[in-house]
């Protein structure tokens, strides 16, 4: 499973309509593995369920989180929060059943559950 060493893959940098490359922030993730599948938790504060895009292409899964536009008005005194959207790409283990992937969003944390396909799990074979 290449999730151990995978960082932001930039071989396909997204561009906006004007052909300038769009900047993204890499969200911090925790990745866990159980015998049933993988769980990825990604921190994307300011992103709601509607601003989230999870796409699968080949064996890559891309998560993009669009921040809800800032409603606070006024003059900034100091600003540390990045204003860019979040993006991260992962290479999936072929054992993952892509039809059963689920995503949940809670308080800015995306929890992605990627179950392994049944056929890959260790099974006992009974001897007749």
């Amino acid at each position: 499973m290449d999730m151990k060493g995978t960082l932001q893959k930039e071989h396909r940098v997204p561009t906006d309509g004007n052909q300038r490359s769009v900047e993204f922030v890499t969200p911090a993730v925790n990745i866990f593995e159980t015998k049933d599948g993988y769980v990825v938790e990604a921190e994307m504060p300011g992103v709601t369920k509607d601003g989230l895009e999870v796409t699968l292409e080949g064996n890559e899964i891309t998560i993009v989180g669009h921040r809800t536009t800032d409603t606070t008005t006024g003059q900034a005194i100091f600003s540390e929060c990045a204003n860019a959207d979040f993006r991260r790409v992962f290479e999936m283990d072929p054992a993952i059943d892509s039809t059963r992937i689920t995503a949940k969003m809670n308080q800015g944390v995306l929890t992605l559950a990627l179950p392994k396909s049944e056929r890959v799990k260790p099974r006992k074979i009974s001897v007749e």
Binding site: M1, M3, K4, A28, V29, N30, I31, F32, E33, T34, K35, Y38, E41, E43, M44, P45, G46, V47, T48, T68, T72, T73, G74, Q75, A76, I77, F78, S79, E80, C81, A82, N106, Q107, G108, V109
Partner: protein, 156 residues
């Protein structure tokens, strides 16, 4: 002879330290290429959880926005003292389940604290805080005497 040591010409042996210099040059190059924000992010390992803050003000209020995803509101503490707002809390890690192998941990767990000095005096009893989508927004209405006042000029 107890051990064999590879013979190196005495003059060349000391040159190995030059490798350290080219490493330094690469580091300095990296300093100019990488935006400053990225650098401060990678140093979280040593300094703990640096919660990102934004502070804004308009004519009526001061707003403080903190990015603290994945917390429960009862684990966040806010206090106002002497013109400074202090935000602290603790994020506890979820109990690990049996048979779970952790492949990667980038999220920070534990305590955090940030204190910010407010630009103007605020009405303490009217402060409101909201935690939504992992962002804590604190709205602090300015104290009456701190609001900009219009002064009429009379011509005598």
């Amino acid at each position: 002879m107890n051990s064999l040591i590879r013979w190196q010409h005495p003059e060349f042996a000391s040159w190995r330290s030059l490798g350290g210099l080219s490493g330094l040059r690469d580091e300095i190059d990296r300093l100019f290429d990488v935006p400053l924000r990225e650098l401060t992010r990678t140093s979280q390992l040593l300094s703990g959880w640096n919660v990102a803050l934004d502070v804004y003000e308009d004519a009526d209020n001061v707003y403080v926005k903190a990015e603290v995803p994945g917390m429960k509101k009862e684990d966040i503490n806010l206090s106002l003292h002497d013109g400074s707002l202090s935000i602290s809390g603790e994020r506890k890690s979820e109990t690990s389940h049996e048979g779970t192998e952790t492949l990667r941990t980038e999220r920070y767990y534990g305590r955090f604290q940030r204190t910010v000095t407010l630009p103007t005096p605020v009405a303490v009893d009217k402060v409101k805080a909201q935690y939504k989508d992992g962002i804590l927004t604190v709205t602090l209405p300015k104290a009456e005497e701190a609001k900009p006042k219009h002064i009429d000029v009379h011509v005598a």
